[in-house]
């Protein structure tokens, strides 16, 4: 980067007959500079990262090896891996893990499929497409708190709009908060509502980068719209799809605000009276900020971290296996 800024005038400078010691030192400094300057440029990020991400990560691990209460953080009693074995045997952890997974699937799969469809529609030359694009992004700009609060009123049992609508078409009331699957479905709709537009815009940007002539070529070959979508669009935005899947997976693992506010009060923290929609994020919050047991909360945080690492190792392995096979076939 430094080299590209050199001025032509500098290059015209006559070079001396031989390098003096001063010149040599300058050359050495110059080399050092070329090598070191990039690190200097990126240093701020890594220093900040070390202070605000890496150090907390290690400190959290240290805390997870102790019994610590929030009000007396300086008093730590060593527990070794006790918190981890307790967590492994705790039904509520496995329950939260299952809930995180099911809510993750119910919210992510329809979300990405709808985003894909929406992006495909927006990709046509619609009248007022700018309006639709802004509208698609509006939910993303809404705060989780506001969205979850409104949805919890919509899904209210006695006087909520959803039950009112269900009554109109002849169904009985659903106790959205107290029943397991309705509650998970309701929370998923909040996530879907907030993130579909955002993902759609990512897809749209990727779709617009696909060269027109590929579609023309496909059309000449007699491919229908649907075939074009499957064989031109999808492969064209594959990298973006993988990216959104990664983002959504991380988001789903950390799902917290939506169920917390949907449940409200004590039920928000425990994810329902029977923990029927408690996610890992909520379990962490319950241990740390209701039971004030920071050691156990830190253990859950690390379990979530390890879980994500595991998911991505698996994903790498699978994708490597998947990419190796077709490559051999080609040869």
């Amino acid at each position: 980067m430094a080299a590209s800024t050199s001025t032509p005038a500098a290059d015209l400078r006559p070079s001396g007959p031989g390098p003096t010691s001063g010149q040599r030192r300058r050359t050495l400094l110059h080399r050092f500079d070329i090598r070191a300057a990039p690190y200097g440029f990126i240093a701020p990020f890594f220093v900040v990262f070390a202070a605000f991400s890496f150090y907390p990560l290690l400190y959290t691990f240290w805390v997870s090896l102790h019994q610590v209460e929030l009000s007396t953080l300086d008093v730590m009693s060593w527990k070794g891996l006790g918190n981890y074995t307790d967590l492994w045997q705790d039904d509520r952890f496995w329950n939260a893990l299952r809930n995180t997974f099911t809510i993750g699937v119910i919210s992510t799969v329809p979300q990405l499929l709808m985003a894909l469809g929406l992006a495909h529609l927006l990709n046509y030359h619609l009248r007022g497409s700018l309006f639709f694009r802004v509208a698609a992004l509006a939910p993303y700009a809404t705060s989780v708190g506001a969205a979850a609060l409104v949805f919890s009123m919509l899904f209210e049992r006695d006087f909520g709009m959803i039950n009112w609508g269900l009554n109109l078409v002849g169904f009985g009331d659903v106790d959205w908060e107290n029943e397991k699957w309705p509650a998970q479905f309701a929370i998923s709709t909040i996530v879907i509502w907030r993130w579909t537009g955002y993902n759609a815009l990512l897809y749209l940007a990727a779709m617009q980068a696909i060269p027109r002539d590929r579609y023309e070529a496909a059309a000449i070959d007699g491919a229908s719209r649907w075939q074009q979508f499957r064989t031109v669009t999808i492969p064209g935005i594959r990298a973006t799809i993988v990216f959104t899947i990664v983002l959504s997976t991380i988001g789903a693992t950390q799902l917290f605000g939506e169920p917390l506010i949907f449940g409200q009060g004590p039920n928000g923290v425990t994810g329902g009276a029977d923990n029927q929609y408690q996610t890992l994020g909520l379990l962490l919050y319950e241990e740390g900020w209701r039971n004030y047991q920071m050691g156990r909360a830190a253990t859950i945080a690390w379990a979530m971290f390890l879980l994500l690492v595991l998911v991505f190792v698996l994903q790498r392995v699978i994708s490597r296996l998947a990419s190796r096979r077709p490559a051999r076939r080609k040869r």
Partner: protein, 437 residues
């Protein structure tokens, strides 16, 4: 060869960026100022308060009046809506050693934890003059073993039963508050018996008798001297007959279908009040203002207040002063004034917060208060009589607030999720053991 002239620039930039990032870090370590008040050079004093929910100080003109009478004092009160959120941040501030306000509100469910673990962080108020007017049990709750008084009582929550006259009438039940009180004068079982009658005779099948069984559970628990803990701080809820009786009766009500299965103070409860879906709720004095607001003017005169079968105290708070506050004496003067009998009586008249001051309770300003909204019920007399029935000692425990919420969730398992009372007890028991462990 590359240009020699540009080299210094890149080096400078590299060094600058490294320095800047270090400075960023240093900046983060240096913020230690806290949010307490202070004293300026001209003798003016700023006092900060941390409050939660509706404590009445920000909602009435009390703070303004104090500032008028004391021109050198400025009060900045910050109110967190939800007590649980408030207490969590108070805990965090205590742990971090910064961010405490000069005055902090403390809810009854948290008092024991503060007394046990944070006694040295709050000023001892035992020598403050003019503070001997409280009910003895109220100040005992916030007194340490060494006799340090960590806070002054604000309100308390003597309990009654709020009921709908029109709904009682259509079910063939008496509507006069004395007669209604007589229906369950012998105990809470009779309150549930009346519920059976109500459900059988009500003309409107949509109506429920009570909002939730957890209100009944709370009323029974809070009428007992020992609740979830004994005086030594041991958990006794598993063997305490008071807890057993309360669970038994509340779970009976929960599985009988006479409750509206609502959660108090959460979504659903307010629309239930506004749309008149239930006929009674067990109400501490401070709940009246909430009912009046949420049930709205169209239900004025339909609600009434009858005495509960047994005196009980649900809730009530304290004001405490940060030991390290730069304006400690001024803060102490302020809370002594705010909790003085006249101000407590005023808050009862304005918002229905029942005084914890013996002197205020006996004053005509409190005894003669009636509520127009609640069909002119003499709430000063009713709650005053209930206050005298409250046990002289109420043993509080460290996790009272959490345990109360877990029992409410346990009853919800029966009420809304169809679990059997035995299963619900086991699950609740397990949750409590985990929460306190």
């Amino acid at each position: 060869m590359r240009s020699a002239r540009v080299l210094p620039r890149t080096r400078v930039v590299g060094i600058v960026s490294a320095v800047v990032s270090l400075a960023l870090l240093a900046g983060c370590g240096g913020s230690d100022t806290g949010t307490g008040g202070g004293r300026s050079e001209d003798g003016k004093v700023t006092i900060t308060m941390g409050l939660f929910g509706v404590m009445g100080y920000k909602e009435t003109d009390l703070l303004d009046r104090y500032m008028e009478e004391h021109p050198d004092v400025t009060i900045e009160a910050e109110v967190a809506g939800d007590e649980e959120t408030y207490y969590t941040s108070l805990q965090t501030h205590l742990a971090a050693g910064s961010g405490l306000k000069d005055i902090q509100g403390i809810e009854i469910g948290r008092v024991r934890e503060i007394v046990d673990t944070q006694a040295d962080r709050f000023a001892d108020l035992s020598d403050v003059p003019g503070t001997d007017h409280f009910l003895p049990w109220k100040q005992n709750q916030i007194t340490t073993e060494d006799g340090a008084v960590l806070g002054l009582g604000t309100d308390m929550g003597p309990m009654a039963v709020c009921y709908r006259r029109d709904m009682f009438e259509q079910a063939g039940l008496p509507t006069d508050r004395e007669e209604v009180g007589a229906l369950w004068a012998d105990g809470w079982e009779q309150y549930v018996d009346v519920g059976e009658r109500f459900m059988a005779d009500s003309q409107d099948p949509e109506l429920s008798y009570m909002d939730t069984s957890s209100g009944l559970f709370n009323a029974m628990i809070y009428g007992s001297s020992e609740q979830f803990y004994n005086a030594d701080g041991d958990l006794i809820y598993q063997d305490n007959p008071a807890v057993h009786d309360a669970w038994e009766l509340a779970s009976q009500a929960a599985s009988s279908g006479m409750t509206a299965a609502l959660r108090q103070f959460q979504t659903g409860w307010d629309p239930g009040l506004a749309n008149s879906t239930f006929a009674t709720t067990v109400c501490p004095a401070w709940m009246l203002a909430h009912i009046q607001e949420k049930a709205g003017p169209e239900n004025a005169g339909k609600w009434d207040v009858a005495p509960a079968p047994q005196g009980a105290n649900w809730g009530g708070s304290f004001l405490a002063v940060n030991q390290d506050s730069p304006v400690r004496q001024e803060a102490i003067d302020l809370i002594a004034w705010l909790t003085a009998p006249e101000q407590q009586a005023y808050l009862f008249q304005e918002l229905g917060f029942f005084p914890s001051s013996q002197e205020a309770i006996e004053s005509p300003e409190v005894q003669n208060v009636t509520s127009e909204y609640f069909n002119d019920a003499p709430i000063g007399r009713i709650f005053g009589a209930a206050a005298q029935e409250i046990p002289d000692e109420q043993v509080l425990g460290r996790k009272d607030g959490t345990i109360k919420n877990l029992f409410a969730q346990g009853l919800q398992r029966i009420e809304s999720q169809g679990q059997s009372p035995d299963d619900a007890w086991d699950a609740t028991d397990e949750d409590i053991q985990h929460a306190v462990g």
